[in-house]
């Protein structure tokens, strides 16, 4: 039944050794459902593409970056002013990092709202959430590497927040900072996390995530199977969907290039551990809603420090969100769960409103 097109000698040579036909057969079998929410299927791929860009530009930056208190800032200034196209590589790395988090957020919320996490894809959601937290770790650790003022204080605040977690906070804080203060020791550790530990762990979980997606195929929205045969349309993954994916990647690459060239990433002022925090200090935008919440919380809530209440609340919310496939039994049974949609909208609105507030205040 398979169309036996004439193959090149190269293909035959490889096929005799690696059974490529089996692989092609597998790829052809996979199909992508077509419906009015199909557009969301692309964002996982976009996130993956941006991650690949991060790997490539990250390796390029490693050729010149020096991860120490005395040299980090200067080495990035060197990359941006002396190395040919160094400014471009660094700017792409910074922009791509931000777009990757954005794409991952869109991917996560679309999976949430279409309930694609429901049975049997709980593990796909779980690995996806792990990847998301690791991506945040990438962002947080990478932010410090230029060793500028903003990054220095953002790291102080960020690690202090982890330190405020009751019980386990303090030892983790010391482990992350490499001491009780943010110093050159912190920079060394963050550099190690950013360029070695996180990429390794991320890649392993990413492979698991992708294997799960390939094994289980694309999730169909609730009610999709109820449609009659000619209503429920699908598209072959290979090559149709993949080609669309690639076209979108090309567009993303162009957007990235435009942003990197016309809005180059700034370096700022070198960090001085014995200077006051500058006005207008802010973390990266994806941490801003939490930052803004901590800013607005009163010093004490029922005799507990306000920030501890905030941190514990965010931690619990994050755990609940991560475990949603396990407590949303209704969706797994294939029933509509309106309540969850409202929860999702509420979470999204909270994040948007507090992020905007963070920029305005």
């Amino acid at each position: 039944m398979d169309q036996r097109v004439p193959r090149s000698r190269w293909f035959t040579w490889l096929d005799q050794r690696l059974q490529l036909e089996d692989l092609l057969h597998f790829l052809r079998k996979k199909s992508v459902p077509r419906h009015r929410h199909s557009v969301w299927y692309y964002f996982g791929g976009v996130t993956l593409f941006l991650f690949l860009i991060q790997v490539v530009t990250g390796i390029l930056l490693l050729l010149y970056y020096k991860g120490s208190e005395d040299l980090a800032f200067e080495s990035i200034r060197f990359i941006m002013s002396k190395v040919e196209f160094g400014w471009l590589i660094r700017s792409i790395h910074s922009w791509s990092a931000n777009l990757m988090i954005l794409a991952a957020l869109i991917h996560m919320f679309s999976v949430f709202f279409t309930r694609a996490y429901r049975f049997p894809r709980e593990l796909t959601w779980l690995t996806g959430m792990l990847l998301f937290f690791l991506a945040l770790g990438f962002g947080f650790s990478g932010y410090l590497l230029p060793w500028n003022e903003l990054a220095f204080f953002a790291t102080k605040v960020g690690t202090e927040i982890i330190g405020a977690v009751p019980g386990i906070g303090k030892p983790i804080l010391e482990f992350l900072r490499g001491g009780s203060n943010v110093t050159g020791a912190t920079l060394s550790r963050f550099f190690g996390f950013h360029a070695a530990v996180l990429p390794g762990v991320f890649t392993v979980i990413l492979v698991a995530h992708l294997i799960l997606v390939q094994r289980q195929g694309m999730s169909e929205p609730l009610g999709f199977q109820l449609q009659t045969e000619n209503e429920a349309k699908t598209m072959p993954f290979f090559p149709n969907f993949l080609l669309r994916d690639l076209l979108l990647w090309l567009i993303v690459l162009n957007v990235l290039a435009i942003l990197a060239v016309f809005f180059p990433w700034e370096l700022g002022k070198k960090a001085d551990p014995f200077a006051s925090a500058p006005a207008g200090i802010q973390p990266e935008w994806y941490f801003l809603f939490m930052f803004q919440t901590l800013k607005l919380l009163p010093a004490k809530i029922l005799a507990i420090d306000g920030e501890v209440v905030g941190i514990v609340a965010f931690g619990l919310a994050g755990i609940l969100w991560t475990l949603v496939p396990f407590w949303d039994r209704k969706s797994s049974r294939g029933e509509q769960n309106r309540l969850l949609s409202y929860v999702g909208i509420l979470v999204l609105m909270y994040i948007v409103v507090f992020t905007v507030l963070g920029y305005l205040m």
Binding site: N181, F274, A275, A277, A279, K295, G306
Partner: protein
């Protein structure tokens, strides 16, 4: 308690006591082996205490270096400290570490407060947290004027 042991092992030759002894010996050595593997690893992860110099007093400068109604952040041991000269010429010193989330505070002339840029926390000129998220007052240091030198020391 081990009366069915002989039925499936059939080795009535080795009494349960000896068997248990071997089990605990092997299990114990396995645990010991794991501990000897993990302990150096975790100990390595924990940053060593670098002989943090315990500073008790710092000479910040001459009185005339500090105009009235101004503040300056200076190094006090491993951490920053803040010296404020009030509008009526009085010197006050504090730890410059915000009690909220570890940022470094500054004196804001226009506000008349000590201010933290990170989360908009405010302290008055006695170091008391008066507005915003800081949960505790700033640690107050002692200022001594020796001749025309400003010496800041920790209250012991």
């Amino acid at each position: 308690m081990r009366d069915n042991e002989t039925t499936y092992t059939g080795s009535s030759a080795s009494p349960p006591g000896r068997r248990d002894f071997l089990k605990y010996l092997l299990g114990g050595s396995l645990l010991g082996w794991l501990a000897s593997l993990l302990y150096p690893l975790f100990a390595y992860l924990k940053p060593p205490k670098t002989g943090e110099v315990e500073v008790s007093a710092v000479n910040v400068g001459k009185i005339e270096d500090f105009p009235k109604d101004s503040g300056v952040v200076f190094r006090f041991g491993e951490r920053p400290a803040l010296l404020v000269r009030t509008a009526d010429g009085e010197f006050r010193a504090f730890s410059a570490v915000c009690t909220h989330l570890d940022c470094t505070v500054q004196y804001r002339k226009d506000m008349g407060f000590i201010w933290c840029a990170c989360h908009n926390g405010k302290y008055d000129l006695n170091g008391r947290n008066v507005s915003g998220p800081p949960p505790r007052p700033l640690e107050v240091y002692k200022v001594v004027l020796q001749g025309d030198e400003v010496i800041v020391s920790k209250n012991v």
